[in-house]
């Protein structure tokens, strides 16, 4: 079976950890995030009848993405950027983080997840902003850790993107 390392990156309290909690195999407690700054969980997805083990490195949320965090990204095959749909500031931070990550890992595929989409009345990030990013080539999906909307699809979609890259 093929294994791949992926990373989960985003600002503080955007729901990264909740996003994985319900959908992956966990072995380590959340306190690793505050101590080591990273927590690892695992998810097996099936892409075109082939099972792929995703080792998910959940990188502790900090609004400043320091150099040390970049070492945790080493060797990843893809990453998920997570923003809180109800806070526009998280998107600004993610755009900044993505720029930094692209400098070191220019060709690694990624998907932007708009999390907390279940809080419909409180949306702060407008669709026009998202459309603009999509025009710039971003892959963007809506998720909700609470209702489970789009989470499985996000992992599958990223895995498919990564594998296509390996094959070509």
């Amino acid at each position: 079976m093929i294994s791949k390392k992926i990373c989960l990156i985003g600002s503080f309290a955007v729901g990264k950890t909740s996003l994985v909690r319900r959908f992956v195999e966990n072995m380590f407690s959340d306190k690793y995030l505050t101590t080591l700054g990273v927590k690892i969980s695992k998810k097996i997805v099936s892409i075109q009848l082939e099972d792929v083990t995703l080792l998910i490195w959940d990188i502790g949320g900090e609004d400043l993405f320091p150099q040390t965090k970049l070492t945790y990204l080493r060797g990843m095959s893809g990453y998920l950027l997570v923003v809180d749909k109800t806070r526009i500031s998280t998107l600004e931070i993610v755009i900044d983080i993505r720029k930094k990550v692209r400098e070191t890992f220019p060709d690694v595929p990624y998907i932007l997840l708009e999390n907390k989409t279940d809080l419909t009345g409180q949306w702060d990030i407008e669709d026009s902003v998202i459309e603009k990013l999509q025009h710039e080539g971003w892959d963007i999906m809506k998720t909700s850790a609470k209702t489970g909307l789009g989470v499985e699809e996000a992992f599958n979609c990223l895995a498919a993107k990564m594998l296509r890259k390996t094959i070509t």
Binding site: I2, S3, M27, L36, L55, T71, R74, G75, S77, T166
Partner: protein
């Protein structure tokens, strides 16, 4: 007569003429090919165009090229050393210092470990018992300490791809409760990164030991992979040498597989016997110490408590003490 011969000649000419008409391009091709085959300069030129690819292809299929080239390379090396030893010394300089430093550090650590062990046990309760055993059996004290303390077992071995933190291969001894190897390996890599980022300033510095009670994790580093051994008990320094040798072999033998690693562990399936050997090796060391014991925490504890005939000496000593006390009482009563 003349007429006939003249006819013959003209027929021959015609035939030759016909041949040139029909086969002229092929004829020139054949002569060209002949020329190419006979001219060493052209052949060398042609060979030079494909030789690199040919070597790469052959190296990928088997090791015969290396075997074939070995004598030549040996001669070349010898000549280089003879001609200009300084050149080779300068080339080797960056790695030789590192190798020596590492080897000296290992030797020192091994010495400190054995000294520590001797000191630790020399004055302890176990130490006294073992000293009696040493007198009784006539074996040196150090040997007795080794015999009692070298009870260890390699429980698990992880071969990990450094860059991604993914497991290339994982083996475990029987009856070990195995947690998810993928996640453990990734976390181990994360801890390593964390330690490096937090405390170390040098690039080549790395985590080598983790101690948790009676469990020890030894980490041997290769350039692109690392081998983590989870050991119960006190392992001898020789085990480190074995681990080092294994990782060096793997780095060498699976060099291209490591370079082209895309997440599939299939190419590394073949190094499983090497890793299993390491696990069985630990058990052999124990049996050579004449202890036909199966390893487990319970047994380790039992073994350190068991001291064959030394209890007899304690009883005799106790009886003697009792006799002296009684004699003392009687003596003082008489006075």
């Amino acid at each position: 007569m003349e007429n006939i011969s003249a006819n013959k000649i003209s027929a021959k000419d015609e035939l030759a003429h016909l041949r040139t008409l029909m086969l002229a391009p092929e004829q020139s091709e054949i002569s060209e090919l002949k020329e190419r085959l006979n001219d060493p300069k052209i052949r060398a030129e042609e060979l030079s165009r494909i030789i690199a690819e040919a070597i790469v292809m052959r190296t990928a299929t088997d090791q015969k090229l290396a075997t074939a080239l070995l004598p030549t390379i040996e001669i070349v090396l010898r000549d280089v050393v003879k001609k200009d030893p300084k050149f080779l010394a300068e080339t080797m300089f960056p790695i030789i210092g590192l190798a020596i430093r590492k080897s000296i550090a290992e030797a020192l650590r091994s010495m400190v470990q054995s000294m520590n062990r001797t000191l630790e046990y020399a004055f302890s309760w176990h130490g006294i018992l073992w000293r009696i055993e040493s007198i009784r059996t006539g074996k040196p004290f150090a040997e007795i300490i080794l015999l009692h303390t070298l009870i260890y077992r390699v429980e698990q071995l992880f071969l990990i791809h450094k860059e991604t933190g993914l497991v290339l291969q994982h083996v475990a001894a029987d009856s070990i409760d195995i947690k998810d190897a993928d996640m453990v390996a990734a976390m181990l890599t994360a801890i390593q990164d964390f330690v490096n980022d937090s405390f170390s300033t040098k690039e080549d510095a790395s985590l080598q030991n983790l101690n948790l009670g009676e469990l020890t994790v030894w980490i041997e580093q290769g350039p692109r992979t690392l081998l983590a051994a989870v050991i119960r008990g006190i392992p001898p320094q020789e085990l480190r040498a074995i681990l080092q040798e294994i990782i060096e072999n793997i780095e060498f033998e699976y060099s291209s597989a490591i370079d082209n690693f895309e997440g599939s562990t299939a190419p590394f399936e073949a190094c499983k016997p090497d890793l299993l050997y390491c696990i069985s090796q630990a058990q052999q060391t124990d049996s050579s110490a004449n202890r036909a014991v199966k390893f487990s925490t319970k047994n380790v504890k039992q073994n350190t408590k068991k001291h064959d005939g030394s209890w007899v000496f304690i009883i005799i000593a106790g009886v003697l003490c009792l006799l002296i006390i009684i004699a003392g009482i009687i003596f003082s009563a008489l006075r």
